[in-house]
C-alpha cells in the first residue's frame, strides 16, 4: 500500500519534471539542458515575490511562471537560435546556461536550508494506513489533469496542431506557413512554464536548494530517454515506470540507490533500445 501510494506520488512528480524537457525536445528538437536551472529559478523567484515583496502566494506563483516563460523564450531567441540544428552545440550551450544560472544563484547567496515555500493546504489524510498530506494529493491531481490538458491542447487547438506538425516534419511545416523559429521559441517558453509548474508543485515539499537543479535535470533526462526522446506521452508512462522502480528500491534496498535506478535506466535504455519504450525514431532513421 505504501509502495502504491508513494510510488504514484513519486511518479507524478517525475512526470512533472520530465514533461517540460520532453515537450521542448519533441517540438523543436532542442535538448534543453538548462531545464533544471529553469526549475530552480522559478522556485527562487516565487520565494522572492512571496517573502521579500509580500505578494499573495497565488499571485507570486502566476508571476513567476510568466517570468520563467519569458526567460525560456529569451534563451531561445538570443542563444539557442544560433546553434539550432547542431545537436551537440545545443547541449553544450544550454547546459552552460544552466550552469551559469545555478552556480550564479549559489554565488548570489541562495544556499542553505532557509528557502522554503508553503504548502497549498496543510493537514493530511489517511489512504488505507498511509498518511498522505493534502499537498501531495493536490500535486497528483494537478499533475494528471495537466497531462490530460496538454493532450487536448496539442490535439484540438490551432497552436497545438501547429506544434505537432513541426514536431513531425519541420520543413514541411515551414512550407505550410508555420514559422518554425517562432514555434520553437513558443515551445521553449512553454517548456520553461512547465518546469515552473513542476517547481511550484514539488518544491513546497522540501527546501529549495541549488543541487536539486542537477537532480531534476537527470531525472527529466531519465524519464525522456526511457519514454523515447521526443514523445511526451511516452515520457509520462516512463515516469510511472521509473517512479515505482525507485520507490521499490528505496523500500527494499536503501535510499542511496534512488539515483542509481534513474541513471541505470538511462544507460540501459540507450544500450538496448535507443529509441525508448515508446519512441519510433530508430525505425525512421534506418529507412533513410
Amino acid at each position: 500500500m505504501e509502495i502504491l501510494v508513494y510510488g504514484t506520488i513519486n511518479s507524478v512528480s517525475l512526470a512533472l519534471m520530465g514533461l517540460g524537457f520532453a515537450m521542448v525536445y519533441g517540438i523543436s528538437r532542442v535538448p534543453n539542458f538548462a531545464h533544471g536551472a529553469l526549475y530552480i529559478i522559478c522556485g527562487f523567484v516565487t520565494w522572492i515575490l512571496f517573502h521579500s515583496l509580500g505578494l499573495p502566494y497565488f499571485m507570486a506563483i502566476i508571476l513567476s511562471l510568466c517570468v520563467n516563460g519569458i526567460l525560456g523564450m529569451l534563451m531561445y531567441r538570443f542563444v539557442l537560435i544560433r546553434v539550432r540544428g547542431m545537436n551537440i552545440s545545443e547541449i553544450i550551450a544550454s547546459y552552460a546556461i544552466g550552469l551559469v544560472i545555478l552556480e550564479g544563484l549559489r554565488f548570489g547567496g541562495f544556499r542553505g536550508m532557509t528557502y522554503t515555500l508553503p504548502a497549498f493546504m496543510e493537514g493530511s489524510l489517511m489512504i488505507g494506513d498511509v498518511p498522505v498530506d493534502y499537498h501531495r494529493i493536490i500535486m497528483t491531481i494537478i499533475g494528471i489533469s495537466l497531462v490530460a490538458g496538454l493532450w487536448l491542447f496539442t490535439h484540438y487547438t490551432k497552436i497545438g496542431l501547429a506544434l505537432q506538425g513541426m514536431a513531425q516534419d519541420e520543413r514541411a511545416a515551414l512550407m505550410l506557413g508555420i514559422d518554425s523559429d517562432f514555434m520553437a521559441m513558443l515551445a521553449m517558453g512553454f517548456g520553461a512554464v512547465l518546469a515552473g509548474v513542476a517547481a511550484t508543485l514539488i518544491l513546497p515539499l522540501g527546501n529549495i536548494v541549488v543541487e536539486s537543479g542537477y537532480h531534476v535535470l537527470i531525472m527529466s533526462i531519465a524519464v525522456c530517454i526511457v519514454g523515447g526522446l521526443g514523445s511526451w506521452v511516452g515520457a509520462f508512462f516512463a515516469a510511472f515506470l521509473i517512479g515505482y522502480a525507485q520507490i521499490i528500491t528505496v523500500v527494499f534496498i536503501g535510499s542511496h540507490f534512488q539515483m542509481v535506478v534513474a541513471i541505470l535506466a538511462i544507460i540501459l535504455t540507450l544500450i538496448l533500445k535507443p529509441s525508448g519504450l515508446f519512441g519510433h525514431q530508430k525505425e525512421l532513421e534506418e529507412r533513410v
Binding site: H280, E283, E286, R287
Partner: protein, 269 residues
C-alpha cells in the same frame, strides 16, 4: 581470371528467397525471390517506392529483412552485419553518394584498402599481396576514369562533380576485389555524355567476370548492358526475363503506363 569466381556457371551466386520487409505498417517488399548467376548483369527496375533500394539494403545487411533468406554461393548471409557481407565480396554503391567529403579523392580508396578483404586479395587486380595503398588507390582511380596526370585524384572530394562521385562509389567497390557489385542507380543524376562513358565501364567490369546487379531508372542504357531484367511494383515481383520479354509484357506496360521512356525503349528493343 579471378580464381575466386565460382567456376560452375550454372549454380546461382546470389539467391534471394521469399524476402519480405515491412517498415512499421508499410510493406516495402513482399515475397521477392530471384537468382543471380555468375557473370550475369541483372537489372532491377520499377517505379519509385517499389522497394528497389530495400532489396539492396537487405542483401548487404544494412536492413534486416522481416522474413526470407539471402544466400551467397549457397551460404546463408541473411542478417549478417554489412562489413561481413562486404568481406565476402558482395559490395554495393549508394544511391545518395556517400564519399568521405573531407578527404581527397584518392584517400577515399585508401580507406577500403584497409579492410581485411583487400589485405587478403590485394585489391582490384592485385595478386594477393597488397602494395602501397596510395599507389593502388590512384591506379584504381585511373582505370575508372580519373585522369592520372591531372590533379583530380588529389582534389578534395567535396569539390568533385557528380560524375566523378558516382565513379568513386564504383571504385570503392572495386578496391575490395568484389565478386558482386550491386549498383544502386549509378546513372541517375548524370548527363548524357557521362552516362555514355559509364556504360562501357560497366561492360568492362562484366568482362572481367564480376557479377553485377543494377538498379536503374534509365531503361535505355540498362537494356544495353543487362542480360536479364526483373520488374518490381509495390514491393512485389512482376516479371523476370530477358529485356525483350520484359518489354513485351502487358503488366509492365501497365505499371509504367504513360511513361514515354517505355515507348522509347520499346522501339529501341
Amino acid at each position: 581470371m579471378n580464381p575466386e569466381i565460382n567456376e560452375d556457371m550454372t549454380k546461382p551466386i546470389l539467391q534471394m528467397n521469399k524476402m519480405s520487409k515491412s517498415f512499421g505498417g508499410v510493406q516495402a517488399l513482399k515475397d521477392v525471390s530471384f537468382d543471380v548467376f555468375p557473370g550475369d548483369v541483372l537489372g532491377i527496375i520499377g517505379p519509385n517506392g517499389s522497394g528497389k533500394t530495400t532489396i539492396v539494403n537487405c542483401i548487404t545487411g544494412f536492413v534486416k529483412p522481416t522474413s526470407g533468406r539471402v544466400y551467397f554461393k549457397g551460404k546463408d548471409i541473411t542478417g549478417k552485419q554489412p562489413h561481413k557481407v562486404a568481406d565476402l565480396g558482395v559490395t554495393r554503391t549508394f544511391q545518395i553518394m556517400r564519399p568521405y567529403y573531407s578527404l581527397p579523392a584518392y584517400k577515399n580508396l585508401v580507406i577500403p584498402l584497409f579492410s581485411p578483404r583487400a589485405k587478403r586479395t590485394g585489391g582490384w587486380r592485385g595478386g594477393g599481396r597488397l602494395g602501397n595503398r596510395q599507389t593502388i588507390a590512384i591506379d584504381i582511380l585511373e582505370e575508372i576514369g580519373f585522369e592520372r596526370d591531372s590533379y583530380i585524384p588529389f582534389k578534395k572530394t567535396s569539390t568533385l562533380p557528380t560524375g566523378y562521385l558516382k565513379r568513386l562509389e564504383l571504385a570503392r567497390c572495386l578496391a575490395l576485389k568484389p565478386e558482386i557489385i550491386i549498383c544502386d542507380e549509378v546513372f541517375s543524376g548524370l548527363s548524357m555524355s557521362e552516362i555514355a562513358s559509364m556504360v562501357p565501364l560497366i561492360q568492362r567490369l562484366q568482362d572481367e567476370g564480376i557479377t553485377i546487379v543494377m538498379i536503374e531508372h534509365r531503361l535505355r542504357e540498362l537494356f544495353q548492358v543487362a542480360n536479364r531484367v526483373m520488374v518490381l511494383n509495390f514491393g512485389q515481383k512482376l516479371i523476370e526475363g530477358t529485356p525483350t520479354e520484359v518489354m513485351a509484357d502487358e503488366k509492365v506496360k501497365e505499371a509504367y503506363f504513360g511513361s514515354e521512356e517505355v515507348e522509347e525503349v520499346m522501339t529501341y528493343a
